[in-house]
Symmetry: C2
Subunit: 387 residues, 2 copies
């Protein structure tokens, strides 16, 4: 069965990508604009590092694109998430709610704060934290004491909810924000995969207190390595800028630093690449959405798989397209992954769930049955905008 | 007096730099080789991120340059130091010996490990940790219990010594290593400023268990932002590579991670810049040493200042040239800094001592009288290789 299904997937990928023979990669960047010019300009003008016009320009352009007032460019999405958590007030010993179905960087960023991830199930509609399951879990597993939400089992404060927009598909932000308000939780958006994605007409990253983007090489647009912190809060933006630039107090020559801080600022040469990439974002998103709709059409004919579509009311960037086995089965999934990769069709499973990684296995977790099903059934298929 | 001295310094800087009018910056990168070609090649081939030929090539070239067996390229020097400390076995609650006279990143890296800096004075000969003062302090302030060196006052284990090569001048490595061996301390070299510097004919970074380089924009050679971990130990090298690449277990498609780790790998586009820069390192070091010898000659005639020279037996890269007020005086120092910067001669003081920064003020510290004198007397003067 898996052999036949693999052949069907390969046939569709080759048809949709237009690559009849040879390897089809999962996601490749698309350098079709001013990348060479801007990057060379950095070298010609001697401004390659953490100060330079492209860093400022990149931040302005991200703010214009997302509608979020402040953008602070960082060396990567993990660094952005780390600062988001600190600025949301996450303290050592706290717990932070997050989905178990995500990339490891989200959990690591919590660990960097000496806090503990607390895993919640996802919705099969959004692949993001499930509002109903979150609410049920909070009702059963927490209590409010002196205005602080406590995990009844561990006794630790639960400070924040980190929401992830899986594969670029926006989470159910209104419902999640409402639960956060009800329980006194700060909401952080992990929008690492979601540049260009919208929730009810508004770019993601606007709903949380503070949000993170990523521009890693495999993302929709790239700076080589890079990320950004987004916030509409003036004070948090100022703090984010300070924390990402070694906490140096502005002075013409003095080296004074007033807090433990980080060397997280994006270099100018990476920002230059980002500026050129951002100019093409509209085009890239259009190409990716066309690709997704072609996949959607083709996979309608495959009985054993469903193509993952954006939910009503949102616009996804379709960063990575995904097909889902209608009958979750690890063996079939693995056979498909082995066969297709061997045939040069680069496909990948969803991440191993965070609660199955050794360093997070002992962390608190709600019922994760939907996540476990998805772990056994999701396969990402080639999604480059250049197809 | 300061006014007259400032004019004398300006006169020498303008003579040596050949810049008769207008601003003279402190340190500018020198892009005179294949920078444009290599960086454009990354874009042309679609390899800009954490995988690509330039990252591997850069690592090989650094190993060839330094003679250290393994190089692991990182996003910056701070990240490299953080991993060095972890791999030296620094645990939460430990103390790490370091000089108070350094850039804040060194202390921050210790704080990231949830450990505490313990400050030691520097030698006026090397500007690095003073072996005599270190030995005296260890004798007086520590005791050995069950093979672990303890701070007698705080009761905390002292795990390692971080040695810094200030302005590219190698520390007294033999003496320091001998003390480390005697007291069971791991030695880490913070060689952030010292690419191209040698101690008794051997490149720095070879003497410690594990060492860190930096390629920030203000350094001798640059990758925009970047750094490297150096070690001659095969096992530590393997662990460093694992910890800097999110702890991902190698697999063709599976996303499994087996430890809390970091997104610290240098992007290919930054490594491309670094490869071109490394090709010119010999030339850059030669230019910088010629510049230093010209400064040295000129400052012989200035009675109130001494030019800081490398100590016998070492070869410094003279990253930042320094003059030292013979009579330490904060007021004179500040007047010089204000006057010269206002006149377009970019100069800077040494860093505010770590024990004077609010977040490290309560950390254990030995007598720091030499550091305090240097804080009041050191001024770095323009040092670009392009002069």
């Amino acid at each position: 069965m898996a052999e036949q299904l693999a052949r069907k997937i390969e046939q569709i990928v080759r048809k949709v990508s237009g690559i009849a023979h040879g390897p089809v990669v999962l996601h490749e960047p698309f350098f079709n604009g001013n990348e060479r010019q801007y990057v060379t300009d950095c070298i010609d003008t001697n401004w390659v590092s953490t100060v330079g016009k492209y860093v400022n320009l990149f931040e302005q352009q991200i703010s214009r694109t997302t509608g979020v007032k402040h953008t602070i460019a960082t060396i990567n999405g993990t660094a952005a998430l780390h600062i988001c958590l600190q600025l949301a007030g996450v303290q050592p010993g706290d717990e932070v709610l997050m989905q178990a179905l995500t990339f490891v960087a989200s959990a690591n960023a919590i660990a960097y704060c000496n806090a503990t991830p607390h895993f919640i199930d996802v919705s099969p509609v959004s692949l993001g934290v499930c509002p109903e399951r979150l609410r049920e879990h909070l009702k059963a597993a927490t209590s409010m004491q002196n205005g602080i939400l406590l995990n009844k089992v561990t006794g630790r404060p639960i400070r924040a909810l980190m929401v992830m927009h899986t594969f670029g598909h926006p989470s159910q932000l209104d419902e999640l924000l409402s639960i956060c308000n009800e329980y006194g939780l700060k909401m952080i958006e992990d929008a690492a995969e979601a540049i260009g994605s919208e929730y009810h007409g508004r770019h993601v990253g606007n709903h949380g207190l503070i949000s993170a983007l990523s521009f890693n090489g495999n993302k929709t647009i790239t700076t080589g390595g890079g990320g950004a912190i987004l916030t509409n809060d003036d004070h948090l933006a100022q703090q984010a800028r300070h924390l990402t630039t070694t906490g140096k107090v502005t002075h013409i020559w003095e080296y004074h630093h007033d807090c433990i801080a980080y060397n997280y600022r994006l270099p100018n040469i990476n920002a230059a690449l980002g500026c050129a990439q951002l100019e093409q974002l509209g085009d890239v998103i259009m190409k990716k959405r066309v690709l997704a709709s072609r996949y959607q059409h083709e996979f309608k004919q495959v009985a054993d798989l469903s193509f993952f579509n954006e939910m009503p009311g949102v616009k996804s960037n379709y960063w990575l397209n995904a097909v889902i086995l209608k009958t979750p089965d690890m063996e079939t999934r693995n056979q498909l992954l082995n066969t297709l990769n061997a045939d040069g069709i680069m496909v990948r499973p969803i991440w191993n769930l965070m609660n199955r990684l050794p360093m997070y296995a002992a962390c608190p977790a709600a019922d994760l049955s939907i996540s476990h099903q998805l772990e056994q059934s999701v396969i990402n298929i080639p999604s480059s905008p250049s197809f």
